[in-house]
């Protein structure tokens, strides 16, 4: 087992899949000559050639739209958006085409498309380039939305996303590309739509995903040390389809839950998970569910204000203590 970064894990998944299947190709802004905005595809152009590593104009609608066409034609494109904030420019293609074509043509077509898009705040990119709009995309049936929080999960899930015949939005978080984690040496895949217990505990269920996984694990360790609280951390990994089974199972044991996400609280992932817990395990509820999320403001540029607006480890710890009162 090697310890590699999130960036390396994603890069490995792409590389291995392109080696395995020549129908897999990548396209996006700066993916070729530059090697990717976040250096995920460094060396790809030289190895795979410009037919399969395609630099595109700054035109997200074209990036996603042409990838959809390629997928319908039998290829397996991986379209990269420089940030998920630019996905709004391609919204019609993502929502009205990628998510719907298979259904609207009575299943005649499949759409083996992956859209990679990094999101998240905390790098002083200001309000329009720092969003975590994951919940918006998870709203649409027909689109699978994956958002891993560890290198191991990122690699296994991206390989699956490339191999299945459904359109997948693969949301990365730009602030955790450097985060390291253990990844097996050989070939492996992870099924989409399975939540995972990242840390076992007995007092409270902490549900999270993406960047907040590492925050939650840190909070859990501190709470164990400082308060002797045993926190179970569950990583959703996939937002659609949402796998509630491990959450409900854990909640039936702990009777208390905190949900931590980087996006805004209103209409967010936490709202959905909380509602599902209320629906599926009401009789196990011992305290109102707590949500940790971004403050309800366009994210400030000033770094101190930015960090104040973003959810922190301390916020998660506070919420856990609150729910255990």
């Amino acid at each position: 087992m090697a310890e590699i970064t999130m960036r390396e894990a994603i890069s490995q998944a792409l590389w291995e899949e392109m080696e395995r299947d020549e129908k897999v190709f990548i396209q996006g802004e700066e993916v070729g000559v530059w090697g990717g905005t976040y250096a995920v595809t460094k060396g790809f152009l030289d190895h795979f050639g410009k037919e399969r590593v395609r630099d595109t104009p700054i035109a997200e609608a074209a990036i996603v739209g042409s990838a959809i066409g390629a997928a319908l034609g039998g290829l397996r494109p991986v379209a990269e958006l420089m940030t998920i904030n630019f996905a709004f420019v391609a919204m019609d293609h993502i929502v009205n085409e990628a998510a719907k074509l298979h259904y609207m043509f009575g299943g005649q077509f499949v759409l083996p498309l992956v859209i990679r898009a990094p999101g998240g705040g905390g790098r002083q990119l200001a309000a329009t380039h720092s969003q975590t709009p994951d919940a918006i995309f998870a709203h649409f049936p027909g689109l699978k939305v994956v958002a891993p929080g560890t290198p191991y999960d990122a690699k296994g899930l991206l390989k699956t996303a490339i191999r299945i015949d459904d359109p997948v939005l693969f949301i990365e978080n730009a602030t955790i590309y450097q985060q390291k984690g253990e990844v097996p040496d050989g070939e492996y895949t992870i099924p989409i739509g399975k939540s995972k217990v990242q840390r076992e505990g007995s007092d409270v269920t902490l549900v999270t995903y993406s960047k907040m996984v590492s925050y939650s694990l840190e909070a859990a360790n501190k709470l164990e040390e400082e308060d002797g609280i045993s926190v179970e951390v569950i990583d959703l990994r996939t937002l659609r389809p949402l796998d509630m089974a491990p959450v409900i199972e854990s909640f039936k044991k702990t009777n208390r839950a905190v949900i931590a996400e980087e996006g805004w609280r209103s209409y967010g992932v936490g709202a959905e998970v909380a509602a599902r817990i209320y629906e599926e395990a009401f009789d196990y509820l011992d305290a109102p569910i707590q949500r940790v999320a971004q403050k309800e403001v366009p994210l400030p540029y000033n770094t101190r204000l930015e960090q104040l607006a973003l959810p922190q480890v301390e916020d998660i710890m506070k919420a856990v203590r609150e729910v255990l009162r």
Binding site: D283, D286, A287
Partner: protein
């Protein structure tokens, strides 16, 4: 069109009722079947349902007012309807009320003006009163509401723990899981005392409740007027208990039958041959009832009520059980319906659960007899000179000597043994 709601007759011997509480206020929308008010009779507090749909135009009775059966208590009209109250009351023949109002009118202008001023003052007061009432209602609701988390409620329910006996340690005093678990581990705290207790050295005097007084009057009247005589018989109930056990093994919890259900059905079947014991007396007339409706005495706080299983001779045991259970539940919750407590023709009083040998009951007038049930006990018995063990239950019939005699009553008791001792007959 507008309709008059009258003080209902709840039970054949009800003469008047007290309007305890208006559930619907004036100008409230009312649907047919909705509860308008609560009425207290000398038997119980019951809900009065509306027979009409519309708007509650006017209350004609005040809370706390006692009115004879048939008196108008409210007007229900269509929305926006202009109601001529006098004409309406006249139409429906509510004469007394009408007279009163006319007399009031005769008293002339001065009075009218006075009234007007009064009404204005009242109108000013009214919202205040309404708000206060609301507050009181909300207050009462809060008192009843126990703050507990769903999981705490569920576990308490499963373990049979009363939440009202627990202290909540969660935010705002919420009872949470740990409180219930602690109670399970350390034992449930003492029940809050519900029964009256004696305060040493201190007398307590208070007014006798309406229910207590009604029971007192009835029992005193019965004991003084009816020449009671008593017959006690011991029954072999071994087969019945065995049958009940077997039956309940097959039945879901909510349908499980009680010993009392067996006795209800057995008595009803036995009564079929003894019309004099399913009768009532009134002056010089004796009425032998065509229906066999078995009353069952149910203890309530500070008194008792009799719920009635109608035509118990025609109903299978399970139906009797389900009906009786539902009525007893309603009695305990204080939500008894009029039809639950009226029309009994023979009553059973069962103290079997209190470990009593036998006892005599006072006849529930105008009925002819009442059957008092003791506890079924495993006892030594002598049969054909051999000592054995068996289950026995003693029942005592109290009968009205104006209607029946010892021989007939004794025959009935003997006849009853067929059904109590050979339970298959209950299913025939």
């Amino acid at each position: 069109m507008a309709n008059i709601v009258e003080m209902p007759k709840l039970g054949f011997d009800m003469a008047e009722g007290t309007l305890v509480k208006w559930v619907k206020s004036e100008q409230d929308k009312v649907k047919k079947g909705e509860v308008l008010a609560e009425i207290e009779t000398d038997k119980a507090t019951v809900e009065v349902e509306s027979s009409f749909t519309g708007v509650l135009h006017k209350h004609l009775a005040e809370e706390g007012e006692a009115l004879p059966v048939g008196s108008p208590i409210a007007v229900i009209a269509e929305e926006g309807e202009d109601v001529d109250l006098d004409a309406l009351l006249e139409e429906t023949g509510a004469e007394e009320k009408k007279k009163e109002e006319k007399e009031e009118k005769k008293e002339g202008k001065e009075k009218e003006e006075k009234e007007k001023a009064g009404k204005e003052a009242e109108a000013e007061k009214k919202p205040e009163k309404g708000e206060k009432q609301k507050e009181e209602e909300m207050g009462a609701g809060e008192e009843d509401f126990i703050k507990a988390s769903p999981v705490a409620k569920r576990i308490a329910d499963e373990e049979g723990i009363k939440l009202s006996n627990l202290e909540g340690t969660g935010p705002g005093g919420r009872i949470v899981k740990r409180d219930v678990e602690k109670a399970i581990e350390e034992g449930v705290p003492e029940e809050k005392p519900e029964k009256a207790k004696i305060t040493p050295g201190k007398d307590e005097t208070f007014e006798i409740s309406k229910l207590r007084a009604a029971i007192g009057n009835r029992m005193q009247g019965s004991w003084q007027e009816i020449p009671h005589f008593f017959i006690t018989t011991e029954y072999d109930v071994g087969e019945m208990l065995k049958t009940r056990k077997q039956l309940n093994r097959e039945l879901p919890d909510e349908e499980k039958v009680s010993v009392n259900d067996f006795i209800i059905r057995a008595s009803a079947l036995a009564l079929k041959e003894y019309p004099n014991l399913n009768a009532s007396i009134s002056g010089k007339e004796l009425t032998r009832h065509g229906d066999i409706n078995i009353g069952v005495a149910v203890a309530v706080e500070n008194g008792l009520l009799t719920v009635v299983v109608k035509n118990a001779d025609q109903k299978p045991l399970r139906q009797i059980s389900v009906e009786a259970k539902a009525m007893i539940e309603r009695v305990k919750e204080g939500k008894v319906r009029n039809e639950d407590i009226e029309g009994s023709t023979f009553t059973i009083s069962n103290l079997g659960m209190y470990n009593v040998e036998d006892f005599v009951a006072i006849i529930n007038p105008p009925e002819a007899a009442i059957l008092a049930i003791g506890t079924a006990k495993e006892v030594p018995i002598v049969e054909d000179g051999e000592l054995g063990i068996g289950w026995r239950m003693k029942c005592t019939l109290s009968a009205d000597h104006r209607i029946t005699d010892g021989a007939e009553a004794a025959e009935f008791m003997q006849h009853l043994s067929l059904f109590l001792e050979q339970p298959w007959r209950l299913f025939a």
